[in-house]
Symmetry: C2
């Protein structure tokens, strides 16, 4: 089977490359996912999969604790699930990729059109090539290879091309709530062919700190919100240390800060010679794989509560903490889980060595599948995080096909 898969891949390099090129050339930033999804739909039809195409319905999703999304309309930018039905009695698998890409940023930073799909030295360039249209193509190649090799599976193979991953995972949540569950899931985010079984979750926070306005020439008559926010920043830095000191999972041993607290933004003041009366800090709090979002929230709330006792002004004007915007559940799979064994075997059979198993420093939609659907998730894919979200994003084409080989073999072993 492994040899047949390898042969099939080598014969379909042009086809796979052209498919990835078409996908990258569609600028599927948030709110504009349609054209890229149309390419997906066409491909799934060609593969003879059972297609389920639907627009997310905010009303159906917003009661769910995992739903965090500031998008009003999803109309015309559908989610896709495409099922290769097994003959029954076997283990099922979800193959999940997201179609949304982050904006291209400053076009001046790109050497070429951000959506060129240009190929040079074995690399395909463009926004979304690595994160994660390359990975989605690996999934489709794996399905196509097995189909064309006339494999019969007992378990279902559920391919998903979802929206909204970059903004909190509403697409994957919608697929889960629509009933798509399985005995295992592969998410081919750019892990550089490592296997991530634990993922850092994260959530955004906003802290508003009040001061008291005054003229800068008599600044002692006011209270500077920027100065007060230094207390908050220092408390957050301290909290980060405490939270990370607790983590002793060997999978995190090479990661300097497994669950960072990132101070991403600060805005305060409107006039150089006035004392600013408000400061707003926004950031991202990492959440440990074994931790609940609620526990992490509570810990930051307690941290802020503790500092106000040391400062009379803050005691009278406590900083306001909000959890807003993005929110990614952490992922956590036991290292001895049979689904990981299956993935490892597939990898070892092809490469002759064991894969690197790691914890990932970022969340994926895997957290939603795992915490929300109790589905074992392995994040494994071509491409590198260094290239993701950056100008001149690219993917090494060879890896797309290698990942497809590993995934095809894993599907066969898991669902046969």
């Amino acid at each position: 089977m492994q040899r047949q898969i390898k042969k099939w891949m080598s014969e379909h390099v042009d086809m796979g490359t052209k498919l990835l090129q078409r996908l990258v050339q569609e600028r599927s930033i948030r709110g504009h996912e349609y054209n890229a999804q149309a390419v997906m739909i066409e491909k799934c039809r060609e593969l003879g999969l059972e297609l389920d195409i639907w627009d997310l319905n905010r009303k159906e999703l917003e009661h769910h604790a995992f739903f965090r999304c500031d998008r009003d309309s999803f109309e015309g930018n559908p989610n896709i699930c495409a099922v290769w039905k097994g003959k029954g009695g076997g283990r099922s698998i979800i193959l999940n990729g997201h179609i949304d890409v982050v904006p291209e940023g400053d076009e001046k930073d790109w050497r070429n059109d951000p959506y060129s799909g240009m190929i040079k030295d074995g690399k395909l360039y463009g926004r979304g090539s690595t994160d994660m249209k390359g990975g989605s193509v690996s999934l489709l190649l794996a399905i196509q290879a097995l189909k064309e090799l006339d494999v019969t599976l007992r378990g279902d193979v559920i391919f998903q091309s979802v929206i909204e991953e970059e903004s909190g995972g509403a697409g994957t949540l919608a697929a889960l709530l629509r009933g798509y569950k399985a005995d295992g899931a592969i998410i081919p985010e750019p892990t550089n062919m490592k296997m991530f079984i634990k993922q850092q979750g994260s959530m955004w926070f906003r802290i508003t700190i009040k001061g008291k306005s005054a003229h800068g020439g008599t600044r002692y008559e006011g209270v500077n919100a920027i100065e007060k926010s230094l207390n908050v920043i220092s408390a957050l830095q301290n909290l980060e240390t405490i939270r990370n000191d607790r983590i002793n999972d060997p999978l995190f041993k090479d990661i300097p800060i497994p669950i960072p607290i990132n101070i991403g933004k600060i805005n305060s003041g409107s006039w150089p010679s006035s004392v600013p009366d408000t400061a707003i800090i926004e950031g991202r709090m990492g959440v440990a794989p074994s931790e609940s979002m609620e526990a992490a929230e509570k810990e930051m709330e307690e941290c802020l509560a503790s500092i106000i006792n040391e400062d009379e002004w803050l005691l009278a004007h406590p900083p306001k903490l909000e959890w807003f915007g993005g929110r990614w559940q952490p992922g956590d799979l036991d290292i001895n889980h049979p689904f990981l064994d299956c993935m490892e075997n597939a990898y070892s059979n092809i490469y002759g060595v064991k894969p690197v198993i790691e914890a990932s420093p970022w969340g994926t939609d895997g957290g939603i599948l795992s915490k929300g659907g109790d589905i074992p998730v392995v994040v494994f894919g071509p491409g590198t995080t260094e290239a993701a979200h950056e100008a001149n994003e690219f993917i090494e084409l060879k890896k797309v096909f290698e990942a497809a080989e590993v995934i095809a073999l894993a599907i066969w072993q898991w669902c046969k």
Copy 2:
């Protein structure tokens, strides 16, 4: 003379109040000074003063070291000088007031229309009432009283109604460069009837601190510009202490921080889960009366240069310091200057006690007259700084007339 002046004032309360009301009702924020200046022009004509009305010319001013102004056009919003020519051989005096007011801010914070000119319990309300149309009316009342009392003066009396004080003093600079000089100057800013002979100067600064962008989940791969800006803020706080520890002028003894460094703004970051790569701090640096702007600039430059040696990143990416926007020269008059004697005498004659002599925590156009024209300046006027620039700004009308009495007597004593 003193009794005659007092009597004249008591007979002209209605006239003076109506004049102030008309001036406050004209919303003379920057770029809209014309209508209020028209009221001034009408009044000066009525007083029989020699009028000089002109639009500032950026080209003529911008070579001057004191010129700091980001306004392109002054057309239609003139400066006014109105001269009461003396018969010769006496000491001259400049009576300087600015017509521009700061914006009213959030109208919701005002109990009434910000430009109502409403009178209640002896207070006249509205933006600019205290800062400083009330003071300008005191000047005009003083001139009118002396004129109507048939006083003949040997020295010239030069009334000025200038624009741009709130934005760096281009109006007073233009009057100075047009040739208006004198042996003394009164600026009736809201000193609450104290005499300010030294004024804190100030200048705005902007510091840009570079970091290195990264994903928040791997924040250790980046350099957080907000964290680096904490070093800068702490250095500025330290510099403020050093600069203020040096000040031993007894006039500053009741001022907690004679020359503050105000951190007025900070902006950094654009995404909660990214490490911000740039932070921009803006603020206002107080300048001591005896100090040159250049010396103060140099001290901050050296301060920033010193911290980079303690931080490898800052050494490779030194913070960039710019001096932009507002800039107010400090003012400095010797406590034994005869012009101050004259002002003190006038005050003592009327109130029976000596005036409070202080250093002011904010700059005025007095710095330009004093450092730029070598003119002795006393800042003395009705109104309080607490009311200036605030919502529900007001002035106690009684003080407008009392200040006018002091000023009329001082003019008579100085110029007779």
